[in-house]
């Protein structure tokens, strides 16, 4: 005999649904870049303090993700890339997503202030505000430059990591910021080239929707050229070194060749091979960022053993 139930608990929220709300894949990139920012800083940090700081930075990033999922629940439900997220899927209510985001923001910023210093906590608070309010609530639905300006939110974590160690900003932390900032447009515009239908359906003013794919391809190439200069220039700051320079040269040449191929292609070519070049460029962009920051870490190890005394620091 089956029970007669008054309520359907099939969509009851589970712990893993709230974890998915935090955008774990984005969190992993934030954790890595923040950790590199902390580790390449010239000031040592107690391992427990360092671990806790990175954890709270990641929590702050997760809070931003939850707030984004709360605000963008309507367009997430339309886009195939995001329809399975906890809020459009009904596993977490929008109100609970908002409350989770707000409380995690308070805890992350408060704990970072107590663990590290006020400056790092203030920078984390600004990062959360920038992503949740400036990007999500304002820019994303308003301008095709949404991910150019909004990309700054993803570029702050290494600066926050650096601030945990040093209590401030510097040329080096700004260089790490600029690396991610200039990488963001080609990365997301390449994605939008082969996900264009999704953004069109949702009414998000991505550059591909507002200005077409030709303008998008032109801009991808332009930003990649600027990124090339910035990335190579970072090699000659006090956080650069031979490992970073080699990595930067190889990957930026590959990235530039990829951007040039995208620029030369027309939509007919892309449709013909299911956007193979665009997808390849997007996958390369993921490796690009990880490899650059791993190379910075490699040079930090060399520096710790006094092996980079002769390395030219120009900037």
């Amino acid at each position: 005999m089956s029970d007669a139930t008054l309520n359907d608990f099939g969509n009851d929220s589970q712990f893993e649904d709230y974890f998915a709300l935090l955008k774990p894949r984005v969190m992993s990139l934030v954790v890595f870049t923040a950790a590199v920012g902390l580790l390449v800083a010239p000031v040592g940090v107690n391992p427990v303090i360092g671990f806790a700081s990175i954890l709270f930075i990641a929590l702050g990033a997760g809070a931003s993700g939850a707030l984004n999922m709360w605000w963008d629940a309507d367009i997430d439900a339309i886009m195939s890339r995001t329809v399975k997220r906890p809020v459009p899927n009904g596993r977490v209510t929008p109100k609970n997503a908002m409350i989770t985001g707000l409380w995690l923001s308070v805890i992350a910023v408060g704990m970072l202030a107590l663990t590290a210093n006020l400056f790092a906590a203030a920078l984390l608070a600004f990062t959360i505000f920038f992503y949740a309010v400036i990007y999500t609530m304002w820019l994303k639905r308003w301008t095709p430059q949404n991910i150019v300006i909004g990309g700054a939110a993803g570029a702050f974590p290494p600066m926050v990591g650096w601030a945990v160690a040093t209590g401030g900003v510097s040329v080096e932390s700004v260089a790490m910021f600029l690396l991610i900032f200039m990488w963001t447009p080609p990365h997301f515009w390449a994605l939008s080239l082969f996900m264009n239908d999704d953004y069109t359906k949702a009414g998000v003013p991505m550059l591909t929707v507002t200005h077409g794919t030709r303008v998008t391809r032109n801009n991808i190439l332009g930003y990649t050229v600027l990124l090339f200069v910035l990335a190579i220039g970072t090699a000659f700051t006090s956080i650069g070194g031979p490992i970073y320079l080699t990595t930067a040269v190889v990957l930026n040449v590959m990235f530039l060749i990829g951007a040039f191929k995208l620029w030369k292609r027309e939509d007919a070519d892309a449709d013909g091979d299911a956007y193979a070049a665009e997808r390849k460029f997007f996958r390369l962009s993921l490796v690009y960022l990880f490899a650059h920051f791993a190379a910075l870490l490699g040079d930090a190890v060399l520096r710790a053993f006094d092996l980079l005394a002769a390395w030219p620091v120009v900037i």
């Binding site: 608990f9 009851d12 589970q14 893993e16 107690n46 427990v48 303090i49 806790a52 107590l114 663990t115």
Partner: protein, 68 residues
């Protein structure tokens, strides 16, 4: 006569509660570890309690000695 958990919901909620308990326990352990790390780094743990504490506010010391 006890009530037995029969609905799958009970199992899902128990798992969620265990995960939440682990997170909260981990948070307590982390705050403890941070406290120990800060104390071992020599950070002052004294607080204000409306008495004169020269270790917190060294500027008070000369005034107190002058008034004696």
């Amino acid at each position: 006569m006890g009530i037995k958990a029969e609905h799958p919901l009970h199992g899902r909620r128990k798992r969620s509660n265990l995960w939440l308990g682990a997170v909260l326990g981990g948070f307590v352990a982390l705050v403890f570890a941070i406290t120990i790390a800060k104390m071992m780094n020599g950070q002052s743990m004294e607080g204000f309690d409306h008495t004169v504490r020269y270790s917190i506010d060294p500027d008070l010391k000369p005034k107190a000695e002058a008034s004696e």
